[in-house]
Symmetry: C2
Subunit: 163 residues, 2 copies
């Protein structure tokens, strides 16, 4: 797991920057996940719980998927696990029998609150060393990368440029 820096120098790609992005994200995620798992949460589960908690009203699967930013099928899997653990409930939509309405259970809301606290603590540990200006720098750089990828993948006709 340590990924010896010397090894990376020997074997890294010519543009190690992207590799660094991948590796950093993977480790950060593992770090946060580790903290959250002690309380039955995880990054993916928390993202889903968060959207449900902040929406304030029951959501359809597809809306949940869109807000979280995952493919619908991925949301099905995550909701399956959350429902299995009693954190969310699927109820048939009263007027559209294709759809479900998803709500947090009480335990789901409790789990969400606890997970948010753990998440904040973990993120503070991971990025707390960065100053406000540095955070803005990082945010801007990530935005530039996203824009480049979106343009190049989604068609050069001017994709969504959120900044």
């Amino acid at each position: 797991m340590a990924e010896d820096p010397a090894a990376r120098q020997r074997f890294g790609s010519s543009d190690a920057l992207v590799d660094e992005l991948f590796v950093t994200t993977q480790r950060l995620r593992a770090f946060v996940d580790g903290r959250l798992r002690e309380h039955g949460a995880s990054v993916a589960r928390l993202r889903t719980l968060r959207v449900l908690a902040l929406a304030g009203e029951p959501l359809r699967m597809r809306d949940l998927a869109e807000y979280v930013g995952n493919a619908p099928r991925t949301t099905t899997t995550i909701v399956d696990s959350l429902e299995r653990d009693g954190l969310v409930e699927r109820v048939r939509h009263p007027s559209d029998r294709r759809a479900f309405l998803l709500t947090l259970t009480e335990e789901g809301a409790r789990c969400h609150r606890e997970a948010e606290e753990l998440d904040r603590a973990a993120l503070a540990a991971a990025t707390g060393a960065l100053s406000g200006a540095e955070r803005e720098q990082l945010r801007a750089l990530l935005g530039r990368i996203r824009a480049a990828v979106d343009v190049d993948a989604g068609g050069a006709g001017g994709a969504d440029e959120d900044d």
Copy 2:
């Protein structure tokens, strides 16, 4: 898949920076993967092929895993798929019957060369808009995050600090 920015503003965590890092990485990876898959490669496979190609000598599974930066079990899975596709070969170590020695086949070497070209092109598209100074900025910021995570996860006694 679009993850509406307005939705993120409504539902994002209090520290959207880390979410941005996750989302950016996921999209960048999907972007590069898409390019590579047209030629039988992928990010994970290319990383493995790259190490084998640059090592210049047969590698044990555990060394390969360490150089690539994955858990040994993950390397087993990836090597399984590469071997299935005829890109690498497992040969029993002559003096340690527990171990395998992994080598690229000719097709593996060819696949690696092609994938590297696609990779370079994709990375140029994704990060080409960044100037040299910005790349250094990003690299430094990622390094700071990794250092914070490593210290906080690996024990505060001074983990490996690669910079």
